[in-house]
């Protein structure tokens, strides 16, 4: 079974600064997807960024980028130019690449609460 670990429960960043959120995972599969989701107080999970394990290039989405280290099973999220609206819980998640219903579920870490100081 796959596991996702987020060991930092909370982080804080000054507005306009850069912050990195850490995530490690464990799997025996060679192909898979990794995600970062944002969950504001409204509780709705919002996809921030996605990485396919077979791609060597790190994914980027505007101010958000990842550092994917497949051998180390590490998947960190970097938020540049932090904004007040970035304050939320952030979850790292794993999904298998296998094409069966049972493997399409997301496995989440425990999350990290990010606060942004004005």
């Amino acid at each position: 079974a796959q596991t996702v670990t987020q060991s930092q429960p909370e982080m804080s960043v000054q507005e306009a600064e850069t912050v990195t959120l850490s995530c490690t995972y464990d799997t025996s599969e060679s192909d898979y997807y990794l995600f970062w989701y944002k969950q504001p107080p409204s509780r709705q999970m919002i996809l921030v960024i996605r990485q396919e394990a077979y791609k060597q290039q790190n994914a980027t989405e505007n101010r958000f980028s990842v550092n994917f280290q497949k051998a180390a099973k590490s998947f960190s999220l970097k938020i540049s130019d932090s904004q007040l609206g970035d304050a939320a819980m952030y979850f790292c998640a794993y999904r298998s690449y296998l094409n069966t219903g049972a493997n399409s579920k997301l496995t989440f870490g425990k999350g990290i609460t990010l606060s942004v100081r004005p």
Partner: protein, 113 residues
């Protein structure tokens, strides 16, 4: 609809009461997932539907939990004889196909007193 809709947003149930939580996915989405999110934790998988077929229910914590999606659109998660440990946010997600992006609803916060 424009997004995944869940109702009610909040539910308070007395211990032993039965509850039903509704999920209205994005129109045309084939795949539907239910997750349970305890306070301060990440969501955990409960069950998965492809159209009306429940293909995986391995995450349901007990036989008091039951989910259905009879016409392949709206889904209902039912919890019988609720217990305090059932208190959590229940999230629903849908996707167009099995491996396309999953869109989440705002969840139902269940509190069992």
């Amino acid at each position: 609809g424009a997004g995944v809709s869940q109702s009610p947003r909040y539910k308070v149930a007395k211990r032993g009461q039965d509850v039903a939580l509704r999920c209205d996915p994005i129109s045309g989405h084939v795949s539907l997932f239910w997750y349970q999110q305890a306070l301060g934790q990440g969501p955990e998988f409960l069950t998965y539907f492809q159209n009306e077929a429940q293909l995986d229910k391995s995450g349901l914590p007990s036989d008091r939990f039951f989910a259905e999606r009879p016409e392949g659109s709206v889904s209902t998660l039912k919890i019988q004889r609720t217990q305090q440990e059932d208190s959590a946010v229940y999230l629903c997600a849908s996707s167009l196909q099995l491996y396309t992006e999953a869109f989440f609803g705002q969840g139902t916060r269940l509190t069992v007193v």
